[in-house]
């Protein structure tokens, strides 16, 4: 039974051709990133050729300013970017779901306190927050994961709260009350499963945004620190005008990868939203 509903979702997902293509690209990229140590021809920090050499047979995407293989660095960079995006999304979604559930279900002053706090976090210019935090704590991958995780949750919290509020008024929750079912049953067996689909869809966009944020912060030098490669700090090397105009292999592949990742994640999320709607056509 569980399997058959999975197939229904998969079939509906496959109707979106673009999303299927994106999913394939995304999975391929993730596979490349995961298998980087085995695929990459050189180590990510190993100096293996001349400085800023254009692509050739030995270095498919050329070498960077200090002679490291760009292709290898890109693979490792993708690893870091995906990991940051994934863990930040995981943290912020977990916080958002818990706060949203509590806020929506219990209501009253708990709701008001949580929602005021949410608005506060939401209204804060968080790039600034992240910069300050990165300045206070040691900038690095883990700091960035925690910081992004701690600022990205308000959207999830509001989404879940709104869902809980509307689900609480449905007749199936009311008939649980009239059947004498306990609150935990209503919350975890009726409300939570019905909010997971929109949360999952929302999480894909948080994932995409987290990757962008990582790139932005690393570009500014407040994120992942060299020599560890990330898509953002590879772009950092493109700050000089000579690189930008004369040596596109130093920044173009990283830029394309970011666009590809973010775009694919968003398209997959869109298709997922349609596929997970239980009232949708089979």
């Amino acid at each position: 039974m569980q399997q058959s509903s999975f197939f229904v979702v998969a079939r509906r997902f496959c109707k979106h051709r673009l999303a299927v293509v994106c999913l394939v690209i995304l999975l391929a990229l993730i596979l490349l990133a995961v298998l980087a140590p085995w695929i990459a021809p050189y180590g990510p920090t190993k100096i293996s050729g001349g400085f800023s050499k254009p692509p050739d047979a030995e270095h498919w995407l050329g070498t960077d300013q200090i002679g490291r293989d760009m292709f290898s660095r890109l693979l490792y960079a993708m690893r870091v970017s995906l990991l940051v995006g994934f863990l930040a999304t995981l943290i912020s979604t977990a916080i958002g779901v818990v706060l949203g559930l509590v806020s929506g279900y219990f209501g009253g002053w708990i709701d008001r306190v949580i929602m005021s706090f949410t608005d506060m976090v939401m209204s804060f210019p968080y790039i600034l927050l992240v910069l300050v935090a990165a300045a206070i704590f040691e900038p690095g991958m883990w700091t960035m994961i925690v910081i992004l995780g701690l600022v990205d949750w308000p959207g999830v919290a509001r989404l879940v709260r709104g869902n809980v509020l509307s689900l609480r008024e449905t007749n199936f929750c009311k008939s649980d009350i009239t059947s004498g079912m306990p609150g935990r049953y209503i919350l975890f067996s009726e409300i939570l499963p019905n909010t997971l689909a929109p949360v999952l869809v929302y999480a894909t966009s948080v994932f995409a945004i987290s990757i962008l944020d990582e790139a932005a912060l690393s570009f500014l030098g407040m994120g992942v620190q060299p020599p560890t490669a990330s898509l953002g700090n590879i772009l950092n090397g493109a700050q000089s005008i000579t690189v930008l105009t004369g040596k596109p292999w130093l920044w173009l592949p990283a830029g394309i990868l970011i666009i590809l990742l973010v775009m694919c994640i968003n398209f997959v999320g869109d298709a997922l939203r349609d596929a997970l709607d239980p009232r949708g056509s089979l």
Partner: protein, 330 residues
């Protein structure tokens, strides 16, 4: 009629909601949705509650089920007062009084199969154990006239009538004494309505169930009810034996409701009728008269002075009417 303990009693139920219209500086104006409703429902019987949309009949159901908090009044289940019980104390009693909602579409969790919807409450309350629950579900589905294989399906795979059958099966699953049916057939096609009404009647006979049937379709309410209460603007304006009440309506509002039912017989098209003018919700200008007076063709000056009480009708002690001119010839 035998006078044993009522299964469900409502005593002077009152509930007001904040109204959007009038707002004072600090407090919103309160609009009474249910304004002093009392009735008793006896074992194995159906009490029908009729009235126009917005007359407060669904609020009565919610108050009885504890889905809304009473402003004042009392609810008794087999003589035990239940409206003041803490949620924890009330929960073990809940299986005894169940509810079926109007909109069967939103009454069933779209992500659960019928078998989950039916089995989870039974297992929680210990009505069935894990080894007997399958057999019990088959029995329930059979009772409501659905093939037992359908328990593997999801709610959206059913028609409205079938979904309402599932809702009835869920209500039955906890072996209730009384079921509150809040417009259970109003959203269904006429032919399906008849099937569901017959099903409800058969189930009542088999299991000696007690119903509170809320509806605005007079035909359905008359068909299923033993006794009927007519509501207007949050008040019970008339109650009594179903056939009696339909044959000799004593309150002008009841008459108007009956006269408003379209009759298929062409010869009767010019029959004398009470036709209502105006809208629900117009209170008498004096502020304390009979709430129906502004629309009532029989209203006199005294109707605008005080609210008529619900009193037994002369010569028919089972009937009660809240009208100064009750029983007068039209």
């Amino acid at each position: 009629m035998e006078r044993n303990t009522p299964v469900l009693s409502a005593r002077d139920l009152r509930k007001a909601f904040p109204s959007d219209g009038e707002r004072h500086l600090l407090r919103k104006g309160m609009h009474p949705a249910v304004d002093g409703v009392s009735f008793d429902i006896y074992p194995g019987q159906t009490f029908g509650l009729v009235g126009e949309s917005g007359c407060g009949k669904s609020t009565v159901a919610k108050l009885l089920m504890g889905l809304e908090k009473l402003d004042s009044g009392e609810v008794y289940l087999e003589g035990q007062r239940i409206d003041q019980l803490a949620p924890k104390k009330l929960r073990p009693l809940r299986p005894q009084f169940q509810m079926v909602f109007q909109d069967s579409g939103s009454s069933l969790n779209p992500r659960k199969r019928v078998m989950d919807i039916l089995s989870e409450p039974m297992l929680y309350h210990g009505v069935a154990k894990s080894d007997t629950v399958q057999a019990r579900m088959d029995e329930l589905l059979e009772q409501v006239g659905l093939p037992r294989e359908m328990k593997h399906r999801y709610p959206h795979e059913f028609s409205g009538g079938q979904r309402q059958r599932i809702c009835i099966a869920r209500a039955l699953s906890l072996r209730p004494k009384v079921i509150v049916l809040d417009e259970p057939v109003s959203a269904l096609d006429v032919s399906v309505q008849a099937q569901i009404l017959n099903l409800l009647r058969d189930l009542q006979e088999q299991m000696h169930l007690t119903y509170l049937f809320i509806g605005h379709g007079l035909g359905a309410v008359r068909y299923i009810s033993h006794r009927i209460g007519v509501m207007y603007m949050g008040r019970l304006v008339e109650s009594g034996d179903a056939e009696e009440l339909f044959a000799h309506p004593a309150h002008p509002y009841t008459r108007a409701l009956l006269d408003a039912v379209p009759v298929a017989d062409y010869a009767l098209r010019n029959r004398p009728r009470i036709t209502l003018v105006g809208e629900v919700g117009e209170l008498p200008a004096s502020g304390n008269g009979c709430p129906f007076a502004p629309r009532c063709p029989m209203a006199t000056a005294s109707c605008l002075e005080h609210v008529p009480e619900l009193k037994p009708l002369a010569g028919a002690p089972e009937r009660t009417v809240a009208c100064l001119r009750a029983g007068e010839q039209r």
